[in-house]
Amino acid sequence: MAFISSGYNPDKPMEDRITDIGPRHFTDFLPPVIKNNMGKWLWHEILEPGLLVHKAESGDEVYTVRAGTPRLMSVETIREICEIADKYCDGYVRFTTRNNVEFLLDSQDKATELKKYLNGVKHPGGSYKFPVGGTGAGLTNIVHTQGWIHCHTPATDASGTVKVVMDELFEEFQQMRLPAQLRISMACCLNMCGAVHCSDIAILGYHRKPPMIDDEFIDDLCELPLAVAACPTGAIRPKKKTVKSEKDGSEKEVKSVEIKRERCMFCGNCYTMCPSLPLADQEGDGLVIMAGGKISNRISEPKFSKVVVAFVPNEPPRWPTLAKTMRQIVEAYAKDAKKYERVGDWADRIGWERFFEKCDLEFTHHLIDDFRDPAYYTWRQTTNFKF
């Protein structure tokens, strides 16, 4: 494979350079029915799982077929999506915020036909390529992060855990039997590129062992004051140490740090600032499950997710404990919540003591907040509780 130049001249990087042009304007890509009815939509209805109709003031209708994707997609699959878009939708297609793909059509018959087609296409391994669903009072796609596919700080894999949970709860994606919409999100470390802290159920990768210290190299690779300042609990202090050289065995004095391990909350912020403080560990790392968050202002205010399971071990490839626990929570919610109640609204109504009972989850000391001021506001300051 010979190197082929795009036209870029490395000796003159500014020659013909185009910068700061931003994204393409969205009107370059809108189907005519969308362009013609911008801001003039009257109402919508979910005709069946994964199939919506939107009606415009003009009388125009647009039918949408929504299908799940694994987010990590090959250009081969995107080309296949393009072929479908060409065949059914005059070459237009869109994606949703939650990694679903949407095909927009002008008739219900065509939409039904496309739905049938999409539900029939499978990967060689047997999984659906484009399962239709993700609408209404059901489970939609899980938004997630990179995990072991591409990230340097994860405490678990993202694509793998998401695949496992979506396999376990697959039927909820293709039906609408839940009390309200169920939003599950996954982030593979506390940095939460996916910001999962306001989801009905959140899966979060977490470390449980304090960082190791690469004493011999830390001063070369890191700004020690930044590493020290990175710790939210002040557990890291500068320290001169004597180390044996990895190369020749000679002893030398180095500038390094020491860590008060009992103060570590395993957030990994030090590692973000300094690669010589790795936390990752096969037994230490795993998952936290959080529940009861939401973003919508509907009926009740937006809420944070709460930690309901302090630790689930990493069990690749199929993370059985995670899958089972997710199923338990979803089943309890489906059975007990009232119509329109999100997971958090349900827990608030029945009380968290009931939530743990109904979900058959153990309540341990890890679940009582002891991190700074907000902790106090989560303790029970009333005699109103349930037996």
């Binding site: 910068t19 072991w148 591409h150 039997r177 982030a187 306001c198 009926i299 329109y340």
Partner: protein, 437 residues
């Protein structure tokens, strides 16, 4: 014959949900077959080695990607995430595996023609693997080598009229819901505002000059489909300040069971016939609705626009006509000092080009944050550290009861000297004339 044995990873080909493993294998196969004789610019076996790395992680429970290196394109400080494998001898195909963020169009609409061009470019100069889309909203090109970065940028800008997105301590790629393009609840043109502000602040997006990352997100209504209230330093959420429009005939249609409640969203549950009292009126958080002579009445003055009644009866109830947006500030994920929800700064603002009123608030917020924010301190953390009053001062916005859930619980007010008659300079000798020691 696969390059690496990957029995653990292979198990994720089973099960109904679309398999990302199949995606990687599909691209691997396409690269080996290469029917169009594309002159692949990075190793043909990049996908095979990615599967190999992942198998290793599945075995030893840890990641094999190093801390990012500083790579990028000339003149930009963001848009490229450097990534190197920590086992490059075992997996040379992914020794470099850098990501590019490509700024997605508002609402994520595409033509197949444009998508194919992206695919051709990424097959030619990268791994052929993407995320559609990354968590912040970008089109993510997953994995290429350093020497390809400028080439990809050149082709994107010259041939596709397309720029990179943000990364690092800059304005991150703004994201929006699909807004007026296909939603009857959009209270302003989220797509256009997202685009215009992205263009206005290209410099802030490409050249990191902030204390830390900064996110804009645009939600057309309080349902919040892009999660702006939880995920953005500045959330622009559509709202209205007049009356909900009522079609009483359609209300009767819902009551009579001719129309499906909640837009058909509960079709597979056994919820019994629709009961407007139980499902709408009793669930209204402000109790501002009632039925009178078979007609639905709303005391709009008391409505807080939570969207529930509109969501349940989309054919009967529509958002008001006097529309605009609210601005909320300071949301973030937990790192470091705990998660924060956005706090209301601007209750209502009209949205009209050229959006000077919106830009003025942004400039005020940024001036304050860039002056006072510490390294890696998000806006929300600065708000906590210095107080909401400082944000009001920075933006010249008058305090309003809407800014608080409830007033403060303590009287520890930081009075300013000019708020107290006579100021703070006093004479102790004069005081002692009337008060013995």
């Amino acid at each position: 014959m696969a390059k690496h044995e990957t029995p653990l990873v292979d198990q994720l080909e089973s099960g109904p949900w679309p398999s990302f493993v199949d995606e990687i294998k599909r691209e691997s196969e396409a690269r080996h077959k290469n029917p169009n004789n594309v002159e692949l610019q990075i190793p043909e076996d990049v996908c095979d080695d990615l599967l190999g790395v992942l198998e290793l992680s599945f075995k030893d429970g840890t990641t094999h990607w190093k801390h990012g290196g500083i790579v990028g394109v000339f003149g930009y400080g963001g848009g490229v995430i450097g990534r190197y494998c920590d086992q490059p001898e075992m997996f040379p195909g992914v020794a470099h595996f850098h990501t590019l963020r490509v700024n997605q169009p508002s609402g994520k609409y595409y033509t197949s023609d444009y998508l194919r061009k992206l695919c051709d470019l990424w097959e030619f100069r990268g791994s052929g693997l993407t995320n559609m889309h990354g968590a912040t909203g970008d089109i993510v090109f997953l994995g290429t080598r350093t020497e390809q970065l400028e080439e990809i940028f050149y082709e994107l800008t010259h041939n596709l009229n397309q720029d990179l997105g943000g990364s690092g301590s800059n304005l991150r790629t703004p994201a929006t819901c699909l807004g007026e393009s296909r939603c009857e609840w959009a209270c302003y043109d989220t797509q256009e505002l997202c685009y215009q502000l992205t263009m206005e602040f290209q410099d802030e997006l490409h050249r990191p000059a902030f204390p830390y990352k900064f996110k804009f997100k645009f939600d057309g209504c309080p349902n919040g489909c892009v999660a702006s209230i939880a995920r953005s330093d500045m959330a622009f959420i559509g709202t209205w300040r007049d009356e909900i429009r009522i079609d009483q005939e359609a209300v009767a249609g819902y009551v009579g069971g001719e129309l499906k409640p909640n837009g058909g969203a509960h079709a597979d549950g056994d919820w019994g016939p629709f009961d407007i009292q139980k499902e709408v009126i009793d669930l209204c958080p402000t109790k501002c609705m009632w039925m009178e002579d078979g007609k639905l009445k709303i005391n709009d003055k008391e409505c807080t626009r939570c969207m529930h009644c509109i969501n349940v009866m989309p054919r009967a109830l529509r958002i008001g006509n006097d529309r605009g947006l609210s601005i909320l500030c300071g949301a973030k994920a937990p790192i470091l000092d705990g998660a924060q929800m956005a706090s209301l700064l601007v209750p209502f603002m009209k949205v009209e080009e050229p959006y000077d009123n919106v830009k003025e608030v942004i400039e005020g917020v940024w001036d304050w944050w860039m002056e006072e924010g510490k390294n890696r301190e998000r806006l929300g953390e600065l708000m906590k550290r210095q107080g909401f009053q400082k944000l009001l001062e920075a933006t010249g916005i008058e305090p309003d009861p809407r800014h608080v859930q409830e007033p403060r619980h303590n009287p520890y007010i930081f009075w300013k000297e000019d708020e107290v008659p006579g100021g703070w300079d006093r004479d102790i000798q004069e005081f002692r004339k009337h008060h013995q020691r």
